[in-house]
């Protein structure tokens, strides 16, 4: 999708030696490359690969931090405990629900935002850009609090403002039921993360050459046909990348749930479950197993996207 960016001016670069024969220069370049990039790679591996391996190891033990004496190897039984417990399946259900709803809504809303920003008069474009960045930059916890307080019975104004809608009255307790609580969580998540999607889509939109639109107009396409047959297909890579990042991000939802419901009324997500097992209940073994399962789920989603939907990240990144 970066096919329309200017070709790099490679002319000045010397023709590099083809693989096979390695000249001194190429070898020293390689060494320098590893010297420069090595530390970053090492740090990344240290802060992720090591902990996840530790988590895999810990998950094979029955291990409570409050009772370290009785740490014992139990094989996969932690996984068995989790996978046969309805708590896990409810958490999975809630997480999938939040992910599906937020990503779907964000995609549509984000596209609308991107479209308006792309077409907006250049005078107000900077204003829109600044405005849209604010939800992105605001701390998730702050956003969660803002929405929580707005919907709350005591401090909120939503019930009063929207009291005329059926089902809403002055004492509607949004956080008292599973669905209404999840609704508020989704609203907060959508508000906070739509801007990111819309910015990615805007970048994708900008890379669909205007001349294609004109050609389609001449060919007699309506606005809707141009969108469906010209704009969207050419933005596929941008859309897929936005979807991939947002889906993985949404699947890890934690902050909003923590602030708004603390997992009450069956609103616990997988991340929250892992947190509760480890940090609150100090069940290192069980918590690690949940963490590993969450990790596997994320890997699975990424794999589905990359293999199934053929999100070509290299192409999307404009790598040759």
């Amino acid at each position: 999708m970066s096919t329309t960016t200017l070709p790099p001016t490679e002319k000045a670069a010397p023709v590099s030696a083809p693989a096979g024969t390695t000249s001194d220069r190429a070898r020293s370049e390689r060494t320098l490359g590893w010297l420069l990039a090595g530390p970053a790679l090492l740090v990344m591996l240290l802060v992720t690969a090591y902990p996840i391996l530790q988590a895999v190891y810990d998950s094979l033990f029955d291990y409570r931090l409050t009772d370290p004496e009785n740490r014992s190897f139990t094989g996969l039984s932690n996984y068995w405990v989790i996978l046969t417990d309805s708590t896990w399946w409810i958490a999975i259900g809630v997480t999938v629900f939040i992910t599906a709803v937020t990503v779907a809504v964000e995609l549509v809303l984000g596209f609308a935002l991107a479209f308006v920003m792309a077409k907006a008069l250049s005078a107000i474009r900077p204003v829109l850009r600044a405005a849209i960045l604010i939800p992105y930059a605001v701390i998730t916890v702050v956003s969660a609090f803002a929405w929580k307080f707005a919907f709350a019975i005591d401090t909120g104004f939503i019930n009063k403002w929207f009291g005329w809608l059926p089902g809403i009255s002055g004492d509607t307790d949004w956080f008292g039921g599973q669905w209404s609580a999840l609704f508020v969580v989704c609203v907060a998540e959508i508000w906070k993360t739509t801007p990111f999607i819309s910015l990615l889509l805007l970048a994708g939109l900008a890379q669909v050459p205007e001349v294609l639109q004109e050609a389609a107009k001449v060919d007699g396409a309506t606005w809707w046909q141009r969108l469906r047959k010209v704009t969207l297909p050419n933005m596929k890579a941008a859309i897929m990348v936005a979807l991939l990042f947002r889906t993985l991000d949404a699947f890890r939802v934690f902050d909003s749930v923590f602030v708004m419901t603390a997992g009450a009324n069956h609103t616990e997500t997988v991340s929250f479950l892992a947190y509760r097992q480890t940090i609150s209940r100090l069940e290192i073994g069980l918590g690690s197993a949940v963490s590993v399962l969450l990790f596997l789920a994320v890997v699975l989603i990424a794999a589905v996207f990359i293999k199934g939907f053929k999100v070509d990240l290299a192409q999307a990144r404009g790598e040759r």
């Binding site: 990039a37 701390i139 803002a146 005591d154 991340s271």
Partner: protein, 277 residues
């Protein structure tokens, strides 16, 4: 564009601004409500009061909030600085040098970026307790690198790829030493990219909540989001809503200021990193 169309686009623009700012306006409004006014059911306070601000800045909650603010700034700035330096070297290698590790490093960065934070927290929680990093600044700075480093590498390599490196050669022909060419030509060209990356990395560190609540226990290292999240639990005062709102406004000020000042660069950085990386 016809007049009617123009009006529609302006209406759409106003809606976007409303969308983006309404919750912020709400939390600001809430922060100015006196405790007695909190449940007035209105968007705006009946009578604006700065009571909540004095509570968290000088009053009873100040020993909770102020250390958290200091922790947040310190930890986030250090984590940002470290990841920017590491990313700068890595991005230079990726953009400039021909070596086989490029793909591996970008791939690793991507993998780390999609990593579920909570999966790292569990083992770290255990490990930090054993080696004494629990509830310390380094105990947060190190895991923050897992948040800031991948995006820094991606964003910065995207920026560095756009640098016309042959400028360095032109400078050498113009009589510059290698060092002069780097300092006078490459540094000024690379600086905006590094700066933008730093802002984005800072946003991400500033936003962290999971590490903050999991790996700290006292005001020695607890950052603001975690402190906010746990305000409600600590019932030193009756209704923490006003205090939370005021604290939320204060921690939002820096990011809003950065957004207003550098919006163009931030957008370029965000989209470059994700789209072109």
């Amino acid at each position: 564009m016809s007049r009617r169309e123009k009006i529609w686009w302006i209406v759409a623009g106003v809606l976007i601004v409303l969308y983006a700012l309404a919750p912020i306006a709400w939390i600001v409004s809430l922060s100015f409500k006196a405790p007695s006014d909190l449940a007035n059911g209105q968007f705006l306070p009946t009578d604006a009061s700065t009571e909540n601000y004095s509570l968290i800045l000088t009053g009873a909650a100040s020993d909770l909030f102020l250390p958290a603010l200091r922790n947040s700034f310190g930890i986030c700035l250090i984590a940002t600085a470290i990841s920017c330096v590491l990313a700068m070297f890595a991005a230079y290698a990726i953009a400039r040098l021909d070596f086989p590790g490029k793909k591996l490093i970008l791939g690793t960065a991507l993998g780390v970026a999609i990593f579920p934070v909570i999966s790292i927290v569990t083992p770290l929680f255990n490990l930090w307790r054993n080696i004494g990093l629990y509830d310390t600044w380094p105990g947060l700075i190190i895991p923050y690198l897992s948040l800031t480093l991948p995006i820094s590498i991606w964003t910065m390599s995207a920026f560095f790829r756009e640098i016309p490196w042959e400028m360095e050669q032109a400078a050498q022909v113009d009589g510059a030493t290698t060092w002069q060419a780097f300092r006078k030509v490459i540094v000024p060209l690379a600086a905006p990219g590094v700066f933008t990356t730093a802002i984005i990395a800072f946003f991400i560190a500033w936003n962290d909540f999971v590490y903050g609540i999991s790996l700290t226990s006292t005001s020695a290292s607890r950052p603001v989001p975690a402190a906010l999240g746990l305000f409600s639990g600590a019932s030193q005062f009756e209704d923490p809503t006003g205090a939370i709102a005021a604290a939320a406004v204060i921690v939002t000020i820096p990011v809003v200021a950065l957004v207003l000042l550098f919006q163009r660069r931030i957008v370029a950085g965000l989209t470059n990193g994700a789209v072109k990386g």
